[in-house]
């Protein structure tokens, strides 16, 4: 740090805060376009069926209906809905509308009508004759001989093995795992299962599209990826990119579910068909099963250690299902290996994964992106190994976790859909994270003795360490543009997509810091494909480091222009100038200064010069943020209920550009992580239909359920990040599930290896343990 920072590292208020809390017209649905129609999608009632015949005449004849689209009316362009950089690593296995449906909720037809009620009536009037096909609902059966082939259409591409329903396959090894196990004194192998979790953004997916007066297609949409959506919509609707304008307003939460082109194509198609504005908004029920969810996985993990507790080899074998379409299929699952195994410095690692299609709702990107599954397995297994060795799990972590200066070679083998780049740890606050979170939970004392008398309530503490990335190395990139206004303020244009996490504020802080102005001098527009330069979007924990990097670069260039002019005005060399507090001043004793306002007026009306510049930015490495999660739980041994008493999370995000927002990200992530650990699961019946697609039956953690939270930021200085920043939004979601599972073991001595950890599973495990103990006693009694 050269001098004290004035804006970065400060708890400034969100730049969009006032408008949000005063209910300003900020979100997608806050506009009413004259003549707007309501779009509605007819969802498939069957998990797997071919449309033999579809008759839309009655629906079209209904007064107020303006369009009814089926596969017969739209171009057939294989694509992926995953909002990823081109060329997307996900299979091109999806169609705007198709003659085959592959899950309950798949698109059959779409209607645009003058009211939602008319649209719903029209859906009911569409006559569909289905040839019902055998459905593959169990992922364990998907590759079995004779299983129905879900993607038998000839024109889809990039599918690994369509005959066996395998969307993607990954096998990577470093070192020699067999040798590693042979050298190990102690080997443990266990199986884990994780569930289908839904993002549950407060604002469901919503898109409004219309034709502007030049006939261009404007799409106002709740998205994390405006630029990818523009490219995908243009391709699917077969119109030039230049004819599409995507606007991302304020977003009511994405969590990865909106890293997806989900409604933009069909809404745009309805607008093109009707020449009218059209709005489609998912109901909460539709959001549950027609949008995306977290990939369910079955994980087999094996680890070999020496007698002293040094990890020599780890092997993770995963079966995951992507549902009916392969959105994010190999990339999410790739992360399950590449971001998880290298937490330990084992020289030998092997990761193998099959991602299979099933006739289930489609999985996709979700905060953590494959890591919550992997860390649940790894950190629960590690706890078991430590306990078996009679070692404190904290000590086991201290001995084995990745360190400053280490290189993670597995990442080099597992990039986004291709070979990646090795990952060098240039900043690492993990040791401090562990120590501080351990202290917060009272680890040393509580591991030894907890006041567990004869009560049915038993306490325990558990821990987990996790990491993530900061952007996709060599893939994610962003750009920013800045221009100066007459009053010395700056207009900042970024493609980055603030989805509620506060990216606009953080990016404005970076610009203000670099330019030496106060935050109110930065006006930011983000995520508008006509106005702002390119950005891949808000995902992979990339915005602060990648988009922020672009902003810092652009601001640096603009700062140079400002200093050039100031040098003239103040008659001082540039290297004797600095800016701060909305002025440029000389750093010598004479202390001459010119205000940014005077400088801007000089530039515009005397020099005829618009001070402006832009920059692009990417990284060839993805610096990991680190996290230590410690949980104290109370288990009711009679009901199996688990109450989390205290959750301490310590995160190394590099520099926290805005510590208050960073803490907010941690607390939001652990709330979702707690739900993932204990209550959240989208349950399907035997026919693949959702049975709990509502908040009454799908239980998220609400305010009353939250335990005491301790949130600790352990700041480090990351050389690759703007002002030393890495990322924070994803990594804290990984820890709660394993930390809680380990705390349960500490409390009552049972290992739960399936999520969510339901009371009845805990009770069953306790019953089994009691029965085993009795049996053992019986054997010992002669």
């Amino acid at each position: 740090m050269s001098r004290d920072r004035l804006v970065v590292g400060r708890n400034v208020r969100k730049v969009d805060g006032v408008k949000l809390v005063t209910g300003g017209a900020a979100f997608t649905d806050d506009v009413q376009i004259p003549g707007m129609l309501y779009g509605k999608i007819l969802p498939s009632p069957h998990a797997h069926a071919r449309i033999r015949r579809i008759d839309t005449r009655k629906a079209k004849a209904l007064a107020g209906v303006h369009a009814v689209l089926t596969y017969k009316d739209v171009p057939r362009v294989p694509h992926t809905t995953a909002g990823q950089a081109w060329p997307e690593p996900s299979p091109y296995d999806t169609y705007l509308l198709d003659s085959k449906v592959r899950f309950v909720g798949d698109r059959v037809a779409a209607v645009a009508a003058e009211s939602r009620a008319i649209a719903e009536r029209a859906l009911a009037l569409i006559e569909v004759d289905y040839e019902i096909l055998p459905a593959v609902l169990d992922m364990e059966q998907a590759m079995a001989p004779g299983a129905a082939v879900i993607h038998d259409e000839p024109d889809s591409t990039k599918i690994y093995d369509r005959e066996h329903n395998i969307a993607g396959y990954i096998l990577r090894e470093i070192g020699n795992v067999e040798q590693g196990f042979a050298d190990s004194d102690y080997i443990v192998e266990r199986e884990f299962r994780t569930q289908r979790q839904q993002h549950c953004p407060i604002e469901p997916h919503i898109t409004i599209s219309w034709l502007d007066t030049d006939g261009r297609l404007v799409i106002r949409t709740s998205t994390q990826v405006p630029y990818h959506s523009r490219r995908q919509v243009a391709m699917i609707l077969q119109i030039p990119v230049s004819r599409v304008h995507v606007i991302k307003p304020r977003i009511g939460g994405g969590f990865g579910g909106k890293q997806e082109m989900l409604l933009e194509d069909i809404c745009g198609a309805l607008t093109l068909a009707t020449r009218r504005p059209v709005k489609i908004e998912f109901t909460r029920e539709e959001e549950f099963y027609m949008a995306r969810s977290r990939h369910p996985q079955r994980l087999r993990m094996k680890m070999g250690v020496t007698r002293d507790g040094i990890v020599l080899a780890s092997q993770l074998t995963v079966l995951a299902t992507t549902g009916a379409y392969g959105s994010h299929s190999t990339t999410v699952q790739g992360n399950t290996g590449s971001k998880v195994l290298p937490l330990y410095r084992a020289p030998n690692m092997r990761f193998e994964c099959h991602v299979v299609y099933t006739n289930n709702p489609v999985a996709g990107a979700f905060r953590g992106y494959g890591c919550p599954q992997g860390f649940f397995a790894q950190e629960t297994l590690v706890d078991e190994i430590a306990c078996e060795l009679g070692m404190d799990p904290l000590e086991f972590h201290r001995k084995n976790v990745i360190r400053l200066g280490d290189t993670d070679h597995l990442s080099a083998q597992l990039g986004e859909g291709k070979e990646g780049l090795p990952r060098l740890v240039r900043s690492c606050g993990l040791p401090q994270c562990m120590e501080r979170a351990a202290r917060a939970i009272g680890w040393a004392q509580k591991r030894k003795s907890l006041p567990n008398g004869h009560s049915h309530l038993r306490r325990g503490v558990g821990m987990a360490c996790t990491m993530q990335g900061s952007g996709i190395a060599g893939v994610d990139w962003a750009s920013a543009f800045l221009k100066m206004n007459e009053d010395g303020s700056f207009y900042l244009q970024v493609g980055a997509s603030d989805v509620g996490g506060g990216a606009d504020t953080v990016l404005a802080q970076i610009a203000a810091e670099t330019l030496g102005v106060t935050l109110d001098k930065i006006i930011i527009t983000s995520g508008d494909t006509d106005i702002t330069p390119f950005d891949v979007g808000a995902y992979a924990s990339s915005t602060t480091i990648i988009s922020g990097g672009a902003v810092k670069k652009a601001a640096g260039k603009v700062r140079a222009q400002v200093l050039d002019l100031a040098s003239k005005m103040l008659d001082a060399p540039v290297d004797k100038l600095d800016c701060g507090n909305n002025e440029v001043f000389t750093t010598c004793v004479c202390r001459k200064a010119v205000s940014m306002t005077d400088l801007a007026m000089q530039a515009m009306y005397k020099e005829k010069l618009q001070i402006m510049d832009g920059a692009s930015h990417f990284n060839t490495d993805s610096p990991p943020p680190f996290c230590a999660t410690f949980a104290e739980v109370e288990v009711d041994t009679e009901t199996g209920q688990v109450r989390v008493v205290h959750l301490a999370t310590a995160v190394d995000p590099g520099t926290a550009i805005n510590p208050m927002q960073a803490e907010g990200q941690v607390e939001g992530a652990v709330a979702q992580g707690l739900g993932y650990a204990l209550t959240e699961e989208l349950v399907l019946d035997a026919a693949g239909r959702p049975v709990n697609a509502n908040f009454l039956d799908y239980k998220m953690f609400a305010a009353e359920d939250m335990p005491k939270l301790t949130t600790i930021l352990v700041e480090t200085d990351e050389p690759l990040g703007p002002y030393g920043a890495k990322s924070i939004s994803e990594v804290p979601i990984n820890g709660p599930a394993p930390a809680i599972a380990n705390a349960i073991f500490h409390a009552v001595g049972v290992r739960i290896r399936k999520l969510p950890i339901r009371p009845e599973d805990v009770l069953r495990a306790l019953g089994a343990k009691r029965a085993a103990n009795l049996e053992e006693e019986a054997l010992l009694t002669p």
């Binding site: 209920q641 049975v691 039956d697 609400a702 009371p759 009845e760």
Partner: protein, 289 residues
Amino acid sequence: MFDKVEAFYRPANVREALRLLQSGKGQARVVAGGTDVVVDGDDSVRFLIDITHAGLSYIRRRGTASVIGATTTMAELEASPQIQSLAGGLLCKAAHSCGSMPIRNLATLGGNMANGSPAADMATPLLVLDAAVVMADAKGRRRLPLAEYLGNARSNRYARSLVVEIVIPDPPRGKGCRWSFQKLGRTAVDISLVNVSAGLHLDSRGRVKWVRIALGSVAPAPMRAPGAEQRMTGRILDQALLAEIGAEVAREVSPISDARASAEYRREICSVLTRRALEECSAPAGCSL
């Protein structure tokens, strides 16, 4: 939701409400707090009759009974000194477990009964208190035992009648009388997986003089556990009897498996919560536990 609703009425008294219900010809639905009706979103409904202004929000004494108007909210029950002092605040505790505060500000006692849910949180404490429901229809008013009403609340039998009030005869009082409400949900704000209410009157020698046990969410309607109650009467409440009663209620219930919990789990929880309820009832009375 409610796309077919043509009219929303707010009658000023019960008579007017009944007339509207009559003229609705089965397509009218009575609404108070709306916390169930709105969630149902029944598309066959053409008329909504809001009875919150029909003079049914009250908590009174009448002779040796407490009387609660149908549109009294959960929040009002919780805050009422009269209800707080009735059966050790049993109804307050149950009311407090209904949803979140915004829901408790709207949800009504009558609605909780009329919705006919087997999980209705107010049903088991009212069953334990031998409550009755007062119904009004074109012919006048009549009083039904709550158990009888709950068994038919979801049938058509009361389609043209209105729940007017709940009558709670004064329960046994005194040193040996204790009450308990137990509820298990997945999160703080949840429909009961199981809820249990109990009322217990022990005589001076610690024998069970009077007992009521009611269970929710474990049968088509909230139910009493007569077998368990009978087994207890006249006996000393000790661990052996608690275990016996736990097993007995598990036999008496008929839970289902759904997305919330399995039948086996619910059955087991019935035993646990019943035992806990009875323990809570007996502990301060200084019995052998």
